[in-house]
């Protein structure tokens, strides 16, 4: 019961705190305007170079935009607490860490889903992207799974925040690598072999592939393997993140480096 309370009440408090910080003056420019213009930029590059359809870029970049809040916000769960001098208080509580951090991940996933769905909607309105109505529900499922998967990577990023001072730089680097590696704008088979191999172990890759197939008319059943793979990759990062959090927490207690600023 205590764990459930920490998960839901802690998650809700975190959600309210997140939106206290993410005022519309920050939320709209960074999480709505930036992704939309990223979609437009790559769609127009695709047109200029006579490559893929607009839909290819709308799907890739909209799903990649889910990673934006997921990676940054989860990174901020640690560095933000340290900045506000509450990290020590949180880590001295006896609260189990699993519901504590997973509760914080819940609103981040919701945020990622919203940002990604907004990108898809703008793609329909502004570009030549018209997915069949029957694909909308499976697409939404793929968006949710991808956001969960990216949040797993974000938790790993947050755990590293117990060791490094500034997670924002690391978050930007992670986003940039996802952009290159995961077939967001270039089909995986046109990327160098080592990049497409690495991409198999990254969030986004399988989600993007599944979304492209679904938008092309495939049924959810036919992409269930890709969706399951995306979820498995995300779960692996989530577990790695929780283990790393535990390890760094112990290390920071031992070496008195928790408040490293």
């Amino acid at each position: 019961m205590t764990s459930l309370r920490i998960f839901f009440v802690g998650g809700l408090t975190s959600y309210r705190a997140l939106f206290g910080w993410l005022t519309p003056w920050i939320f709209i420019p960074t999480l709505l305007v930036v992704p939309v213009f990223q979609i437009l930029l790559f769609a127009y590059i695709g047109r200029a170079a006579n490559l893929e359809s607009d839909g290819f870029y709308v799907i890739g970049n909209s799903l990649q935009s889910a990673a934006l809040p997921c990676v940054f916000a989860m990174g901020h769960t640690i560095s933000g607490e340290r900045y506000q001098q509450t990290l020590g208080f949180i880590l001295t509580t006896p609260a189990p860490r699993l519901p504590l951090f997973l509760g914080r991940a819940l609103p981040v996933v919701a945020n990622g889903v919203f940002v990604s769905a907004f990108g898809f909607a703008c793609g329909v309105l502004l570009l030549d992207f018209d997915p069949p109505l029957s694909s909308l529900a499976p697409l939404l499922l793929v968006i949710v799974v991808t956001a969960v998967s990216c949040t797993g990577l974000g938790l790993l990023n947050g755990a590293v925040g117990l060791r490094i001072r500034d997670t924002s730089i690391l978050s930007n680097v992670i986003l940039g690598l996802l952009l290159i590696f995961c077939g967001v704008n270039v089909p995986l088979d046109e990327l160098p072999g080592w990049i497409s191999t690495t991409a198999q172990g990254l969030p986004l890759t399988h989600g993007i592939e599944a979304a492209r197939e679904v938008a092309g008319g495939a049924s959810l059943a036919s992409v269930r393997g890709l969706v399951a793979m995306e979820l498995a990759v995300g779960a692996a990062y989530l577990v790695a993140g929780l283990l790393l959090l535990r390890y760094f927490e112990e290390q920071s207690r031992r070496q008195a480096t928790l408040e490293r600023t």
């Binding site: 930036v34 213009f37 437009l40 127009y44 047109r47 730089i169 986003l175 290159i180 046109e190």
Partner: protein
């Protein structure tokens, strides 16, 4: 002379600080490289060597603008956080002479982006750097940097009453990349976008660099770029006068 000395010292001072700052130094150089890499992969797939080369030039201007946009949006707020904004505004020299070197230093960091992007393209993608008019290229680059710095100055003074100016600067990064034709020909964009492109100095800076590389006419583009830069500077000074007068009258400079 005194103003020039202040501009020079201010520029060198802030350039040194930013060069050593991980966010303005390391990330400012690497962030546009991620996008340049994707663009290189895309244009390489198309098999058009000329388009790939032009994309590498465009990617250098992308870097210059990226460095400037986010940092310029946050320039005033950073001084506010440091508690130095009131002190700087109260100094006997005009505040524009203090703010302008900051944004010029930001766009000068773009030189790192230029070098890193061209080297990245050369060694990883085999893009040959063939400049028909090297001398004019070295005229076009500083003109672009100065005009982007002045655009950053205008952005910085516009954000004086905006606590989260960095977010606005961040949001303007992609639109300028797109509208100024850095990777996509402007002719491909809707007609109504073109007047916006013409009003933005990076468009003319990019044109000048492209023309110097392909052997076209460079100086008209350089002149347009510098003229727009001058316009941004003058507009920035006028806006600054107005907002500072208002902030003094209402005691709102610190936004607390």
């Amino acid at each position: 002379m005194r103003s020039l000395r202040l501009l020079g010292y201010g520029w060198a001072h802030h350039f040194k600080i930013m060069s050593r700052d991980p966010f303005n130094g390391f990330l400012a150089v690497t962030w546009p490289l991620f996008f340049a890499t994707v663009a290189f992969f895309m244009f390489r797939t198309s098999g058009d060597a000329q388009a790939l080369f032009i994309a590498s030039l465009g990617a250098t201007v992308m870097g210059m603008w990226s460095v400037t946009s986010t940092s310029a949006g946050a320039a005033m707020q950073r001084e506010r956080w440091h508690g130095t904004l009131e002190l700087l505004v109260a100094t006997p020299v005009h505040f524009s002479l203090i703010l302008l070197p900051i944004t010029l230093a930001m766009s000068t960091i773009g030189l790192y982006c230029l070098v890193s992007t061209l080297l990245w393209g050369r060694f990883l993608f085999g893009i040959d750097l063939q400049i028909e008019h090297p001398l004019l290229f070295f005229v076009a680059v500083p003109a672009t940097i100065v005009s982007i710095g002045l655009l950053g100055f205008l952005l910085a003074v516009t954000c004086v009453r905006y606590r989260t100016g960095w977010a606005l600067g961040n949001a303007l990064e992609f639109p300028v990349w797109l509208v100024c034709g850095l990777l996509v020909p402007i002719t491909l964009l809707p007609d109504w976008v073109r007047p916006i492109s013409w009003a933005l100095a990076p468009t003319w800076g990019m044109n000048a660099m492209r023309e110097s590389a392909t052997g076209g006419s460079v100086l008209p583009d350089v002149a347009a770029c510098l003229a727009l830069g001058l316009g941004y500077g003058l507009a920035g000074v006028l806006v600054l006068e107005t907002v500072l007068r208002s902030a003094r009258a209402r005691a709102t400079l610190s936004l607390t």
